[in-house]
């Protein structure tokens, strides 16, 4: 009997406002405990919340980016429970009237095992709502006591809730990654997972094919995609084992321990709080006007999915390349800038040049740029553990180098040397080519002279080649390249060699 896996995600993404959602206190990460806790963060008697407009604008942008319905009127509610890091004794959140309604996100799934091919899937987003974060309890802070740090209390969060549309760890991870890319892409969150700016709760259940939904358990607070995959794999197997040995699954909140790779229950449904939600009387209903929608729409960049489609349809890139290049907005923008500086712009191209040719040229430059960005550049970023945003080579520097490959001034291996220099020392491609003497020899006279010399010097081998030993071609290429000190244009060299060796 085969098992089906059903997964839904709740993602808390911290919005990138400078101040808190209901006060003017700073949201900067990593300050000394309680130095960013103002009267509102501490919940002194008498203080009141005032909504941060920037948080609302970011929520609206997100809603538009996932094609969601934006509620013209939504309501903030109080979620009541006691905990030392929850200073008011309630969290201001949204309950039955969230600002963002049903939307959807297209994800690219790369199956984790077997020979299955990558595929695309649409995951529905149930809702997204604004809320404030709690502070942090620091257990054992001093003399066996628990300390409370309220710097984080009141930080704006957007909680994004998906439908249970995912049926494997791979899909869950692909969704989380796509969401992570999107929130950074549209500039509403820094998505920093180590700092807790993007935290995932994963609801997992299993069922036998065709049966109704099983009981779910919720894995809380996963802050890495790798842990997410491990946690889901472990949890799915655990649930299947339980059911196959005749036990029942009980609804529970569970934690994943990365050290043991196991999940364990934190609290069961019986301990569930009655949060006594009710509309917060300190805040007015949140009205989103058509003007606010227009403003948010005007600020939205071209989204990852649109960019991906454009790369495939207009630039002729493969789906794989298009996915890689749209993994972050910085990468995609870098790519676009490189392609733009390598392709003749419509204004400057001769009137005689036909559109088709121009497209063909852009496609060639696009492929060249894609190869270098996905290959050499990404590899170097990985080696140095850098985000694209911190890339030491600018798109101007990169396209300076790439245009020298495109116009045959530079060989591919010469390009790599220029790139390494740009990365390590900076500078400008042409100057580096000049200084290191990397200019490719494309002078056919010079190449012919060089080939003639080799043919004359290697009469025996030439004879062997001519008698049918084709494999020797590489030998001649090697000699010629060496003679040119690596600078001969390989295509030209091949052409001349073929011709001359043929006799």
């Amino acid at each position: 009997m085969s098992w089906e896996i059903v997964i839904g995600l709740e993602v808390h993404t911290q919005l990138s406002t400078h101040t808190k959602i209901f006060s003017g206190a700073s949201t900067t990460y990593g300050a000394e405990p309680n130095t960013q806790a103002d009267a509102v963060s501490i919940a002194l008697p008498g203080v009141l919340p005032v909504l941060n407009k920037g948080a609302v604008e970011r929520a609206v942008k997100f809603g538009l980016a996932v094609g969601a319905h934006i509620a013209p009127r939504s309501v903030f509610a109080r979620k009541n429970y006691f905990y030392p890091d929850l200073p008011k004794g309630y969290q201001i959140s949204q309950f039955d009237l969230p600002v963002v309604g049903m939307g959807a996100l297209t994800i690219q799934v790369e199956p984790l095992s077997g020979n299955a091919k990558p595929y695309e899937k649409v995951v529905r987003i149930t809702r997204a709502h604004l809320e404030e974060d709690a502070g942090k309890s620091v257990h054992g802070a001093s003399q066996g006591m628990t300390g409370v740090d309220l710097n984080r209390a009141g930080t704006p969060l957007l909680e994004i809730v998906s439908e249970p549309d995912m049926c494997s760890a791979a899909e869950a991870v692909a969704y989380a990654k796509a969401l992570h890319t999107l929130v950074r892409w549209i500039g509403i969150s820094d998505g920093n997972m180590q700092e807790g700016s993007f935290r995932c709760d994963v609801n997992v259940s299993v069922r036998r094919a065709g049966e109704p939904l099983g009981t779910r358990r919720e894995i809380k607070n996963l802050n890495s995609f790798r842990f997410m995959q491990q946690a889901i794999d472990y949890e799915v197997q655990w649930q299947i084992d339980q059911l196959e040995s005749g036990r029942k699954i009980h609804q529970a909140t569970i934690l994943f321990n990365p050290d043991t790779g196991e999940t364990r229950a934190m609290r069961s449904k019986e301990d569930a709080h009655d949060y006594r939600y009710f509309p917060d009387p300190d805040l007015l209903p949140l009205d989103i006007t058509p003007a606010m929608l227009d403003a948010a729409r005007a600020e939205l960049p071209e989204l990852p999915e649109a960019r991906r489609t454009r790369y495939v349809n207009e630039l002729g890139l493969s789906a794989y390349d298009a996915n890689s290049l749209t993994s972050s907005r910085e990468m995609a923008d870098f790519f676009d800038a490189c392609v733009a500086s390598l392709s003749p712009s419509p204004q400057s191209s001769p009137a005689s040049e036909r559109g088709g040719e121009r497209e063909n040229k852009s496609s060639i430059s696009a492929k060249l740029c894609a190869n270098w960005l996905i290959g050499e550049l990404s590899a170097q970023l990985n080696r140095d553990g850098l985000e694209m945003a911190k890339c030491p080579v600018s798109h101007q520097q990169m396209s300076g180098m790439l245009s020298r490959i495109a116009d045959n001034t530079l060989s591919n291996s010469g390009g790599k040397e220029v790139f390494r220099t740009l990365w390590a020392e900076g500078g400008e491609a042409d100057a580096i080519i000049e200084a290191k003497g990397l200019k490719q020899v494309s002078d056919s006279g010079a190449i012919e002279a060089l080939v003639d010399e080799i043919i004359a010097a290697q009469a025996d081998k030439v004879a062997e080649y001519r008698s049918g030993k084709d494999k020797l071609f590489g030998f001649f290429v090697g000699l010629a390249m060496k003679a040119s000190r690596g600078k001969a244009n390989p295509a030209q060299l091949n052409e001349v060699l073929l011709k001359k060796l043929a006799g």
Partner: protein, 482 residues
């Protein structure tokens, strides 16, 4: 001097007949002499008050005085005032020194007024007799065995006993108007959103509204001029043009249409209060007003609706008093839950606990729709009743409270009887309307009776005019229990 109006005091100060320091000292001496009996103040800080008076005198000398500069005002102990102990009448905040000023306090500071002290009140403003205060009951200056009303009982007692020039109060279900009536003074609760709630410790956020309590309508108008104004720190603060609440005071009342709700003159109203209210209405007719009977058919539901909504909000508002960051924490506890339970059990009094429990209950899963949502619907019907009534009249009049001041302990065992003493005032809060109480004579036991005036939204200036014209024609407001 102690019977002077704010305007007269201001003139005395301007003419250097008295300094703010002397005036403040005069009141401090009176407080020292009489507060042990009335218990109207929880905290007095002579040094701070006198320092403010010194600054006020300098301001007056420099010619920068405003209407209330140098005048000693008593602040209800619900307003956070920087450096002042701010208890809200609770053991929970018995040692809490506020690190910031409420908007209302800021406004008085800017006006150069002197903070004379923090007045006693029912714990967290929950009560109608000032008997729930952790700092002991307040006595009514007209009869020391009687309650002053509540929750702004300390403020009402202090104004009546002339222990301040004027006072601030807050009104969630009648907490300005009912004690004003019981102590024979004038008090007004303005339209919800007119006075910022920032720094005013919340009881029921959608109902709480601050307002002045003073010897006359004219004094209240001057106080309102200081207290009102938009404040961006309160999302429910209304952005409106600044207005001068004294501007209509001297208009004649001819043509004024007074609506009398039949429900306010039905069973439950004591004869003596009814008689005094009718006499006041007759006086208004002499002043040129006409009278029309109106109906507020849902007003009988106001008390039950209030006792769903106000405790619901309070149960959540008071969650921050958990012993973690400030306020009372139990001396010994075994774990976190034990710390919460003991700290709150020790820090809160019985009435506060009762309301937290009621509020928790009505918000609980399975009860929310039946209680909270239902109450919200009726709240809208109550507001609609008033909207319909104001098509027929300019102001609504009736009794403020069904009886004169009752004796200490008289209603202590019966919370419902206590809740009913706000039966005429609560609907006004539910609708968010302005309401006021002015003295209109004395009942059988020679205790003051109050006339309630309810206006349409933002009609405070008109209501103050209506009250002021009555006070020009009568002298009930200038009677003092001394």
């Amino acid at each position: 001097m102690i019977n002077f109006s704010l305007k007269q005091l201001s003139k005395q100060l301007a003419a250097k007949k008295i300094s703010s320091v002397e005036l403040t000292q005069l009141y401090l001496d009176r407080i020292a002499a009489h507060n042990p009996v009335y218990n109207a103040y929880i905290t007095v800080d002579a040094k701070t008050s006198l320092a403010q008076a010194v600054a006020a005198d300098a301001l007056i000398a420099s010619g920068g005085a405003q209407a209330l500069t140098g005048i000693p005002i008593a602040q209800k102990d619900i307003f956070c005032a920087k450096g002042w102990r701010t208890t809200c009448g609770s053991k929970m905040l018995g040692d809490f020194i506020a690190p910031y000023d409420a908007h209302v306090i800021e406004q008085f500071n800017k006006a150069g007024a002197v903070n004379l002290g923090k007045t006693n009140m029912d714990e967290f403003a929950m009560g109608s007799s000032n008997e729930t205060s952790y700092f002991g009951p307040v006595r009514n200056p007209w009869n020391q065995n009687a309650v002053p009303g509540g929750s702004s009982g300390g403020a009402a007692s202090a104004v009546a006993a002339r222990l301040c020039a004027a006072a601030t109060g807050t009104d969630t279900g009648g907490s300005i108007r009912q004690p004003a009536a019981l102590c024979g003074i004038t008090g007004i609760k303005p339209t919800y959103g007119t006075v910022s709630r920032y720094g005013m410790i919340a009881f029921a956020s959608s109902l709480d509204q601050a307002g002045p309590m003073a010897k006359s309508a004219e004094d209240c108008a001057l106080m309102l001029n200081v207290m009102t104004g938009f404040d961006c720190r309160d999302s429910t603060s209304l952005q409106r043009e600044v207005e001068d609440y004294t501007r209509h005071l001297n208009q004649p009342l001819s043509g004024l249409r007074i609506g009398l709700p039949v429900e306010f003159f039905a069973e439950g109203l004591s004869d003596d209060v009814a008689a005094r209210v009718q006499e006041a209405i007759a006086q208004y007719q002499k002043l040129g007003a006409t009278v029309v009977d109106i109906s507020l058919p849902n007003s009988k539901l106001a008390v039950p609706v209030y006792y769903v909504l106000a405790p619901a909000e309070a149960s959540s508002n008071l969650s921050r008093f958990d012993g973690v960051r400030y306020g009372h924490r139990a001396a010994e506890y075994t774990d976190l839950a034990d710390m919460y339970e003991k700290s709150r059990a020790e820090g809160f009094g019985a009435e506060v606990k009762r309301r937290i429990m009621m509020g928790t209950y009505v918000l609980s899963h399975g009860y929310y729709d039946a209680y909270y949502l239902q109450a919200q619907k009726i709240r809208r019907l109550i507001a609609q009743d008033f909207a319909d009534a104001f098509k027929l009249c300019d102001v609504i009049m009736g009794p403020t409270s069904p009886s004169t001041a009752f004796n200490l302990g008289e209603k202590g065992d019966d919370p419902v009887q206590m809740y009913l003493s706000d039966i005429y005032t609560i609907a006004v809060n539910l609708a968010g309307l302005p309401g006021m109480s002015i003295p209109c004579g004395f009942g059988h036991n020679n205790m003051p009776t109050g006339l309630q005036i309810i206006g349409n939204y933002f009609d405070e200036a008109r209501m103050l005019n209506v009250a002021h014209q009555y006070q020009l024609a009568t002298d009930w407001h200038s009677r003092a229990p001394l």
